[in-house]
Protein backbone atom coordinates (compact mmCIF):
# COMPACT_ATOMS: atom_id res chain seq x y z
CA UNK A 1 0.00 0.00 0.00
CA UNK A 2 2.78 2.42 0.89
CA UNK A 3 4.58 1.44 -2.31
CA UNK A 4 1.53 2.30 -4.40
CA UNK A 5 1.31 5.74 -2.76
CA UNK A 6 5.06 6.33 -3.22
CA UNK A 7 4.93 5.43 -6.91
CA UNK A 8 1.71 7.31 -7.74
CA UNK A 9 2.89 10.43 -5.88
CA UNK A 10 6.30 10.28 -7.61
CA UNK A 11 4.66 9.92 -11.03
CA UNK A 12 2.34 12.86 -10.27
CA UNK A 13 5.24 15.07 -9.20
CA UNK A 14 7.16 14.16 -12.37
CA UNK A 15 4.11 14.86 -14.54
CA UNK A 16 3.80 18.34 -13.01
CA UNK A 17 7.46 19.11 -13.71
CA UNK A 18 7.14 17.87 -17.29
CA UNK A 19 3.89 19.80 -17.77
CA UNK A 20 5.74 23.03 -16.96
CA UNK A 21 8.26 22.37 -19.71
CA UNK A 22 5.70 21.07 -22.20
CA UNK A 23 2.38 22.88 -21.87
CA UNK A 24 1.77 25.92 -24.09
CA UNK A 25 2.98 28.95 -22.12
CA UNK A 26 -0.45 30.64 -22.16
CA UNK A 27 -1.96 27.89 -19.95
CA UNK A 28 0.48 28.50 -17.10
CA UNK A 29 0.68 32.25 -17.72
CA UNK A 30 -3.01 32.56 -16.88
CA UNK A 31 -3.34 35.12 -14.07
CA UNK A 32 -5.34 32.75 -11.87
CA UNK A 33 -2.70 30.02 -12.14
CA UNK A 34 0.18 32.46 -11.59
CA UNK A 35 -1.41 33.92 -8.47
CA UNK A 36 -2.81 30.74 -6.95
CA UNK A 37 -0.03 28.18 -7.36
CA UNK A 38 2.58 30.02 -5.23
CA UNK A 39 0.03 30.23 -2.36
CA UNK A 40 -0.45 26.45 -2.20
CA UNK A 41 2.92 25.57 -0.61
CA UNK A 42 2.53 28.42 1.93
CA UNK A 43 -0.86 27.11 3.08
CA UNK A 44 0.07 23.42 3.01
CA UNK A 45 3.41 23.81 4.80
CA UNK A 46 1.75 25.95 7.50
CA UNK A 47 -1.04 23.37 7.91
CA UNK A 48 1.60 20.63 8.17
CA UNK A 49 3.49 22.56 10.87
CA UNK A 50 0.25 23.01 12.86
CA UNK A 51 -1.14 19.48 12.56
CA UNK A 52 2.18 17.71 13.13
CA UNK A 53 2.93 19.78 16.23
CA UNK A 54 -0.43 20.06 17.98
CA UNK A 55 -2.15 16.76 17.16
CA UNK A 56 -1.80 13.02 17.59
CA UNK A 57 -4.12 11.21 15.23
CA UNK A 58 -7.43 13.07 15.49
CA UNK A 59 -6.77 14.56 18.94
CA UNK A 60 -5.42 18.01 19.65
CA UNK A 61 -2.54 17.72 22.15
CA UNK A 62 0.05 19.98 23.68
CA UNK A 63 3.31 18.15 24.38
CA UNK A 64 7.09 18.46 24.01
CA UNK A 65 6.69 18.95 20.25
CA UNK A 66 5.32 22.47 20.92
CA UNK A 67 8.51 23.35 22.81
CA UNK A 68 10.54 21.80 19.99
CA UNK A 69 8.70 23.97 17.47
CA UNK A 70 9.40 27.05 19.61
CA UNK A 71 13.12 26.26 19.43
CA UNK A 72 12.81 25.75 15.67
CA UNK A 73 11.15 29.17 15.30
CA UNK A 74 14.06 30.79 17.14
CA UNK A 75 16.56 28.90 14.94
CA UNK A 76 14.74 30.05 11.79
CA UNK A 77 14.70 33.67 13.02
CA UNK A 78 18.49 33.42 13.40
CA UNK A 79 18.65 32.07 9.83
CA UNK A 80 20.18 28.78 10.96
CA UNK A 81 20.78 26.16 8.24
CA UNK A 82 18.06 23.57 7.63
CA UNK A 83 19.82 20.74 9.45
CA UNK A 84 20.42 22.91 12.53
CA UNK A 85 16.72 23.85 12.69
CA UNK A 86 15.62 20.22 12.49
CA UNK A 87 18.39 18.98 14.81
CA UNK A 88 17.64 21.61 17.46
CA UNK A 89 13.94 20.69 17.46
CA UNK A 90 14.66 16.96 17.76
CA UNK A 91 17.23 17.53 20.52
CA UNK A 92 14.75 19.69 22.46
CA UNK A 93 12.09 16.98 22.34
CA UNK A 94 14.59 14.27 23.30
CA UNK A 95 15.97 16.28 26.25
CA UNK A 96 12.53 17.25 27.59
CA UNK A 97 11.49 13.59 27.55
CA UNK A 98 14.55 12.70 29.62
CA UNK A 99 13.53 15.13 32.37
Amino acid sequence: MIWAGVLVASASCYALKLAGLSLPARVLQDARVQRTVPLVPVALLAALVATQTFATGQHLVLDVRAAALGVAVVAVLFRAPFLVVVGAAAATAALLRLL
Binding site: S10, A46, A50, V86
Partner: protein
Protein backbone atom coordinates in the same frame (compact mmCIF):
# COMPACT_ATOMS: atom_id res chain seq x y z
CA UNK B 1 30.76 34.54 -30.24
CA UNK B 2 28.77 31.33 -30.42
CA UNK B 3 25.88 31.78 -27.99
CA UNK B 4 25.97 28.08 -27.05
CA UNK B 5 29.49 28.36 -25.63
CA UNK B 6 30.40 29.79 -22.28
CA UNK B 7 33.75 30.70 -20.77
CA UNK B 8 35.70 28.32 -18.57
CA UNK B 9 35.44 30.90 -15.82
CA UNK B 10 31.63 30.94 -15.97
CA UNK B 11 31.65 27.13 -15.97
CA UNK B 12 33.87 26.97 -12.89
CA UNK B 13 31.65 29.48 -11.09
CA UNK B 14 28.51 27.51 -11.91
CA UNK B 15 30.07 24.22 -10.79
CA UNK B 16 31.25 25.77 -7.53
CA UNK B 17 27.76 27.17 -6.83
CA UNK B 18 26.19 23.84 -7.79
CA UNK B 19 28.42 21.89 -5.40
CA UNK B 20 27.74 24.33 -2.59
CA UNK B 21 23.98 24.04 -2.86
CA UNK B 22 24.15 20.27 -3.49
CA UNK B 23 26.22 19.58 -0.36
CA UNK B 24 23.91 21.76 1.76
CA UNK B 25 20.90 19.89 0.34
CA UNK B 26 22.64 16.58 1.02
CA UNK B 27 22.78 17.48 4.70
CA UNK B 28 19.07 18.29 4.57
CA UNK B 29 18.44 14.95 2.85
CA UNK B 30 20.02 13.21 5.86
CA UNK B 31 17.12 14.54 7.93
CA UNK B 32 14.66 13.38 5.27
CA UNK B 33 16.12 9.86 5.39
CA UNK B 34 15.88 9.86 9.17
CA UNK B 35 12.30 11.22 9.30
CA UNK B 36 11.09 8.85 6.60
CA UNK B 37 12.55 5.81 8.34
CA UNK B 38 11.16 6.94 11.70
CA UNK B 39 7.74 7.33 10.01
CA UNK B 40 7.80 3.63 9.18
CA UNK B 41 8.87 3.61 5.53
CA UNK B 42 11.42 0.95 4.58
CA UNK B 43 14.95 1.78 3.46
CA UNK B 44 14.01 1.01 -0.13
CA UNK B 45 10.82 3.13 -0.02
CA UNK B 46 12.75 6.02 1.49
CA UNK B 47 15.44 5.88 -1.20
CA UNK B 48 12.82 5.39 -3.94
CA UNK B 49 11.20 8.68 -2.91
CA UNK B 50 14.47 10.58 -3.26
CA UNK B 51 15.30 8.97 -6.63
CA UNK B 52 11.81 9.09 -8.17
CA UNK B 53 10.06 12.06 -6.56
CA UNK B 54 13.15 14.26 -6.10
CA UNK B 55 11.39 17.34 -4.75
CA UNK B 56 12.00 17.93 -1.06
CA UNK B 57 8.82 19.49 0.33
CA UNK B 58 6.63 16.84 -1.34
CA UNK B 59 8.79 14.04 0.05
CA UNK B 60 8.67 15.46 3.58
CA UNK B 61 4.89 15.87 3.31
CA UNK B 62 4.26 12.28 2.24
CA UNK B 63 6.35 10.72 5.01
CA UNK B 64 5.16 13.27 7.60
CA UNK B 65 1.52 12.38 6.97
CA UNK B 66 2.22 8.63 6.98
CA UNK B 67 4.22 9.03 10.20
CA UNK B 68 1.33 10.90 11.85
CA UNK B 69 -1.04 8.02 11.07
CA UNK B 70 -2.64 9.48 7.94
CA UNK B 71 -3.34 7.37 4.87
CA UNK B 72 -0.60 7.16 2.26
CA UNK B 73 -3.12 8.51 -0.27
CA UNK B 74 -3.67 11.71 1.73
CA UNK B 75 0.14 11.95 1.80
CA UNK B 76 0.40 11.32 -1.94
CA UNK B 77 -2.24 13.97 -2.73
CA UNK B 78 -0.51 16.55 -0.52
CA UNK B 79 2.84 15.70 -2.13
CA UNK B 80 1.38 16.27 -5.60
CA UNK B 81 -0.24 19.57 -4.55
CA UNK B 82 3.08 20.77 -3.16
CA UNK B 83 4.70 19.74 -6.45
CA UNK B 84 2.41 22.01 -8.46
CA UNK B 85 4.85 24.92 -8.06
CA UNK B 86 7.42 22.96 -10.08
CA UNK B 87 5.13 23.38 -13.11
CA UNK B 88 5.60 27.16 -12.87
CA UNK B 89 9.37 26.67 -12.61
CA UNK B 90 9.18 24.55 -15.76
CA UNK B 91 7.44 27.41 -17.53
CA UNK B 92 10.29 29.78 -16.63
CA UNK B 93 12.90 27.25 -17.71
CA UNK B 94 11.25 26.12 -20.94
CA UNK B 95 12.84 28.94 -22.96
CA UNK B 96 16.31 27.94 -21.71
CA UNK B 97 16.08 24.16 -22.01
CA UNK B 98 15.58 22.05 -25.15
CA UNK B 99 11.91 21.88 -26.05
CA UNK B 100 11.98 18.34 -27.41
CA UNK B 101 13.66 14.99 -27.25
CA UNK B 102 14.88 12.65 -24.55
CA UNK B 103 16.97 15.32 -22.89
CA UNK B 104 13.82 17.26 -22.01
CA UNK B 105 12.37 14.17 -20.31
CA UNK B 106 15.47 13.97 -18.10
CA UNK B 107 15.58 17.75 -17.59
CA UNK B 108 12.01 17.67 -16.29
CA UNK B 109 13.08 15.47 -13.37
CA UNK B 110 15.52 18.19 -12.28
CA UNK B 111 12.97 21.07 -12.35
CA UNK B 112 12.93 22.06 -8.66
CA UNK B 113 13.46 25.15 -6.47
CA UNK B 114 17.26 24.99 -6.42
CA UNK B 115 17.92 24.32 -10.12
CA UNK B 116 15.47 27.06 -11.12
CA UNK B 117 17.08 29.58 -8.78
CA UNK B 118 20.57 28.75 -10.07
CA UNK B 119 19.54 28.79 -13.75
CA UNK B 120 17.59 32.05 -13.85
CA UNK B 121 20.35 33.97 -12.06
CA UNK B 122 22.71 33.68 -15.11
CA UNK B 123 23.57 36.16 -17.82
CA UNK B 124 23.01 34.14 -21.02
CA UNK B 125 20.81 31.18 -22.00
CA UNK B 126 23.94 29.04 -22.46
CA UNK B 127 25.13 29.84 -18.95
CA UNK B 128 21.65 29.21 -17.56
CA UNK B 129 21.52 25.83 -19.27
CA UNK B 130 24.94 24.90 -17.90
CA UNK B 131 24.00 26.00 -14.35
CA UNK B 132 20.73 24.06 -14.55
CA UNK B 133 22.43 20.78 -15.47
CA UNK B 134 25.38 21.25 -13.10
CA UNK B 135 23.03 21.94 -10.18
CA UNK B 136 20.63 19.17 -11.14
CA UNK B 137 23.28 16.46 -11.43
CA UNK B 138 25.21 17.50 -8.29
CA UNK B 139 22.04 17.86 -6.24
CA UNK B 140 20.63 14.53 -7.40
CA UNK B 141 23.84 12.80 -6.29
CA UNK B 142 24.11 14.43 -2.86
CA UNK B 143 20.35 14.34 -2.21
CA UNK B 144 20.29 10.58 -2.67
CA UNK B 145 23.53 10.01 -0.78
CA UNK B 146 22.20 12.05 2.16
CA UNK B 147 18.89 10.17 2.13
CA UNK B 148 20.70 6.82 2.25
CA UNK B 149 22.93 7.92 5.16
CA UNK B 150 19.97 9.26 7.17
CA UNK B 151 17.86 6.16 6.54
CA UNK B 152 20.63 3.69 7.45
CA UNK B 153 21.59 5.64 10.58
CA UNK B 154 17.97 5.68 11.78
CA UNK B 155 17.55 1.96 11.07
CA UNK B 156 20.24 1.34 13.67
CA UNK B 157 18.25 3.20 16.37
CA UNK B 158 15.69 1.00 18.16
CA UNK B 159 13.23 3.80 19.08
CA UNK B 160 13.39 7.01 16.99
CA UNK B 161 11.27 8.82 19.60
CA UNK B 162 14.23 8.72 22.01
CA UNK B 163 16.09 10.94 19.54
CA UNK B 164 13.12 13.30 19.33
CA UNK B 165 12.64 12.40 15.66
CA UNK B 166 8.85 12.78 15.97
CA UNK B 167 9.45 16.49 16.64
CA UNK B 168 11.63 16.82 13.54
CA UNK B 169 8.96 16.97 10.77
CA UNK B 170 7.26 20.19 11.99
CA UNK B 171 10.68 21.86 12.23
CA UNK B 172 11.45 20.70 8.69
CA UNK B 173 8.15 22.10 7.38
CA UNK B 174 8.80 25.37 9.22
CA UNK B 175 12.26 25.68 7.65
CA UNK B 176 10.73 25.09 4.20
CA UNK B 177 7.96 27.60 4.91
CA UNK B 178 10.03 30.46 6.35
CA UNK B 179 11.59 31.73 3.07
CA UNK B 180 8.07 31.99 1.57
CA UNK B 181 6.75 34.26 4.33
CA UNK B 182 8.33 37.57 3.32
CA UNK B 183 5.03 39.16 2.22
CA UNK B 184 2.36 40.05 4.76
CA UNK B 185 -0.28 38.23 2.70
CA UNK B 186 1.74 35.00 2.86
CA UNK B 187 1.99 35.32 6.63
CA UNK B 188 -1.80 35.79 6.91
CA UNK B 189 -2.45 32.78 4.66
CA UNK B 190 -0.04 30.65 6.71
CA UNK B 191 -1.76 31.55 9.99
CA UNK B 192 -5.23 30.97 8.55
CA UNK B 193 -4.15 27.62 7.09
CA UNK B 194 -2.77 26.46 10.44
CA UNK B 195 -5.95 27.44 12.30
CA UNK B 196 -8.28 25.86 9.71
CA UNK B 197 -6.26 22.62 9.69
CA UNK B 198 -6.42 22.32 13.49
CA UNK B 199 -10.12 23.27 13.59
CA UNK B 200 -11.22 20.49 11.22
CA UNK B 201 -8.70 17.91 12.46
CA UNK B 202 -10.92 16.28 15.15
CA UNK B 203 -13.73 15.65 12.64
CA UNK B 204 -12.00 14.11 9.62
CA UNK B 205 -9.40 11.33 9.11
CA UNK B 206 -5.70 12.24 9.49
CA UNK B 207 -4.27 13.96 6.43
CA UNK B 208 -7.63 15.24 5.18
CA UNK B 209 -7.31 18.69 6.89
CA UNK B 210 -4.45 19.35 4.45
CA UNK B 211 -6.65 18.68 1.46
CA UNK B 212 -9.36 20.97 2.90
CA UNK B 213 -6.74 23.71 3.30
CA UNK B 214 -5.55 23.13 -0.29
CA UNK B 215 -9.08 23.50 -1.68
CA UNK B 216 -9.70 26.67 0.35
CA UNK B 217 -6.44 28.34 -0.68
CA UNK B 218 -7.06 27.48 -4.33
CA UNK B 219 -10.53 29.03 -4.10
CA UNK B 220 -9.07 32.09 -2.41
CA UNK B 221 -6.42 32.46 -5.12
CA UNK B 222 -8.87 32.11 -8.02
CA UNK B 223 -11.50 34.44 -6.51
CA UNK B 224 -8.92 37.07 -5.61
CA UNK B 225 -7.34 37.16 -9.07
CA UNK B 226 -10.75 38.04 -10.53
CA UNK B 227 -10.82 41.42 -8.84
Amino acid sequence: MDSRRISTRAQRGAVRDALGIAIASGAYAVSFGAISTAAGLSLLQTCALSVLMFTGASQFALVGIVGAGGSVWAGAATAALLGSRNALYGLRLSSILDRSGLRRLLAAHFVIDETTAMAIARESPAESRFAFWATGVALFFFWNLGTLIGAIATHLVPDPKVLGLDAAPPAAFLALLAPRLRAREAMAIALAAGVVALACLPFVPAGIPLLIVAVLVALFGVLRSRT
